[in-house]
């Protein structure tokens, strides 16, 4: 019981603490070497900008038919696997969490330093101070959480730019925010106080369903038929059918008693949450309408585009139940009561967008930049590639979703249809304030 609870909190508090930086991860070493920017019309552009579905691949090549990551990091992870024996005295939970946050597909050439300081607990009859030392930096000050909005299935037919089909969507979002008292207790080593509530705000949501879709992508103007040049537009209209949704929001924590360690009632658990769930899952759907829109402009060496997904995507659930969960001190259990039933509620799918620009300067030099928001924060990338025959040299800089600046550099060799690329990039996907450096390697077939 004790291990389970502690383990749960290790996962919840530590995994959540650095999650938002996941957007930096890429399987393509070329992209990694340019700070995350893509100079080809790849999946990210086509996912978020419907106009790009009409833009042909760049005639100069560059977009690989297949990119295979070379997982040197897995060998490293296997070699280090003994360090993840939770029963060993040298087990370090932070290191394990860092592996989750920064999957060891690629080789970690510089690990972010992990705090390894002493932690002091000062205990008195009416005093408790926890001094985490350097580990205080791991205590989040803002909301921590994770989530995504994905379209994991998109089936249909396309005729002359008109696409009719159905897509499946899934969105989840979980956030935790430490209350002031708990945050100061852990981060500032404030003494615990009597008759005080220590809590975490919790807000989580998940919804999924399918959406019949009608979309169009095409070139409106400009350019010869054998040229990429032109002004492209794309749009999609979705009618969302929500299959299921659930949401929980509230606080959980504890309230201290009249004395911290010697009273008859040292603490009282505190749980107070509202839980919303859709009734009749699979029988009665949530309904909503939303759309995607985008444009792309290609004029010789210049290319730019903007695309937005899930505009106005609000789902109405006609039959939902609202329950309240409250910790009952009399029975030492959580009471579950229905507050409202068969009521209407609304949810939103977060709008996501991409804006990109690329400039092919000639002489093998290409510059590019993009801004991507996948519904949970914005990341910006700027990068460049210079080609000298079969050799490519790359560099870039990015600001990730946690507003941290990252750097990338790399190189590649291409021989006919095969290319071997290596990219180094810094990342902050670790429970540390310092950056780590990862080396990515991939093989591409053009």
């Amino acid at each position: 019981m004790r291990s389970t609870l502690v383990g749960c909190w290790v996962v919840v508090l530590l995994v959540g603490a650095a999650e938002p930086a996941r957007a930096q991860f890429s399987f393509d070493a070329r992209r990694a070497g340019m700070g995350g920017v893509s100079l080809t019309r790849d999946g990210t552009l086509r996912r978020y900008n419907p106009a790009y579905r009409a833009v042909p691949d760049h005639r100069g090549g560059g977009r690989a038919k297949l990119t295979i990551p070379i997982p040197l990091g897995l060998l490293q992870a296997l070699k280090d696997s003994a360090a993840f024996d939770v029963h060993a005295s040298y087990f370090n939970a932070v290191e394990l969490v860092n592996k989750v946050l920064n999957p060891p597909l690629y080789l970690e050439v510089k690990k972010a330093p992990i705090p390894s300081n002493d932690v002091t607990f000062t205990v008195g009859r009416n005093a408790l101070v926890v001094d985490l030392g350097k580990a205080q930096q791991l205590v989040p000050t803002d909301e921590i959480g994770f989530g995504s909005s994905s379209r994991f299935l998109d089936l249909g037919i396309t005729i002359h730019g008109v696409h009719a089909g159905v897509l499946a969507f899934l969105q989840e979002d979980v956030g935790f925010t430490l209350g002031d008292t708990l945050r100061d207790f852990l981060r500032k080593a404030d003494s615990a106080r009597v008759r005080t509530l220590y809590f975490v705000n919790v807000d989580g949501k998940g919804q999924g369903g399918f959406a019949p879709t009608l979309s169009y992508a095409g070139r409106l103007a400009g350019g010869a038929p054998d040229s990429d040049d032109g002004f492209y537009v794309g749009g999609a209209l979705h009618y969302y059918f929500g299959v299921a949704y659930g949401r929980g929001t509230g606080t959980t924590g504890f309230r201290t008693g009249d004395t911290l360690f010697a009273g008859s009632n040292p603490i009282t658990p505190n749980v107070d949450a509202l839980v919303y769930t859709s009734n009749s899952i699979g029988k009665q759907f949530g309904h909503g309408v939303g759309g995607d829109i985008g444009f792309a402009y290609v004029a010789g060496p210049v290319e730019l585009g903007v695309g937005v997904n899930d505009l106005g995507a609000t789902l109405t659930w006609k039959d939902t139940q609202v329950r309240r969960l409250v910790y009952d001190t009399a029975t030492s259990s959580i009471k579950d009561s229905t507050v409202l039933n068969h009521v209407q509620s609304k949810t939103k799918l977060p709008a996501s967008y991409v804006a990109n620009v690329a400039y092919r300067m000639g002489q093998g030099i290409t510059l590019g930049a993009d801004i991507v928001d996948n519904g949970r924060g914005t990341a910006e990338h700027v990068g460049a590639e210079v080609r000298f025959g079969p050799l490519a040299v790359r560099g870039g800089v990015a600001r990730d979703t946690r507003k941290k600046v990252e750097f990338g550099t790399g190189a590649g060799l291409r021989f006919g249809p095969f290319g071997l690329d290596v990219g180094f990039w810094t990342h902050s996907n670790s429970l540390s304030n310092a950056r780590g450096v990862t080396m990515g390697t991939s093989l591409s077939i053009y």
Partner: protein
């Protein structure tokens, strides 16, 4: 109390424990002001010894709650620092302050004292005593609850010897290598 601290999902303490465990080679150090627990009425032991000889007087043990989640940790060192005043009223002899620590109330005084400090007394007066003890690798301190007992052991040479031992400071410093699983 133990069940409440752990079973209720005490966010701060468990999170702190988790972070402690996360600190790799770092150690968990507990600095416990035991005196703050004794002050609630157990910091003074009165000794009335009417005849020549040796006798002991003790207070009921006091429970001291520590933090949960460290049951499997490896205790490195334990340092106990104590201070007391012997306030003698009558008689002469010697008075020894003895500190006992145990995992349960019933067995508190059945073991060996972990700290002793004493001095001679001769008529009315106050004598300050103190001592430091260090224990190595004592798994007793893996317990979330410890019982502390304060005893006055008096050897009377000129009875009646009466007075009290009044604890003025008592701290416990436990250094351990945290291990949660």
């Amino acid at each position: 109390m133990r069940a409440k601290w752990i079973g209720a999902g005490t966010v701060a303490l468990v999170a702190a424990a988790a972070l402690t465990a996360a600190c790799g080679e770092g150690r968990a150090i507990f600095d416990v002001d035991v005196y703050s627990f004794l002050k609630s009425g157990a910091d003074t032991v009165h000794y009335p010894i009417p005849i020549v000889g040796t006798a002991s007087d003790s207070n009921p043990p006091i429970k001291v709650g520590l933090l949960g989640g460290f049951g499997k940790s490896v205790v490195d060192t334990v340092t106990i620092t104590g201070g007391a005043n012997i306030v003698n009223t009558t008689g002469s002899g010697s008075v020894t302050f003895r500190l006992f620590i145990a995992a349960d109330s019933a067995g508190t005084y059945s073991g060996t004292p972990v700290l002793t400090a004493g001095g001679a007394v001769n008529g009315p007066g106050t004598t300050a005593i103190g001592g430091v003890a260090t224990l190595i690798g004592d798994s007793l301190f893996n317990n979330q609850t410890l019982w502390f007992g304060v005893q006055a052991r008096v050897t009377a040479t000129t009875p009646p010897v009466t007075g009290k031992v009044q604890v003025t400071a008592l701290r416990l410093r436990v250094v351990m290598k945290p291990k949660l699983f």
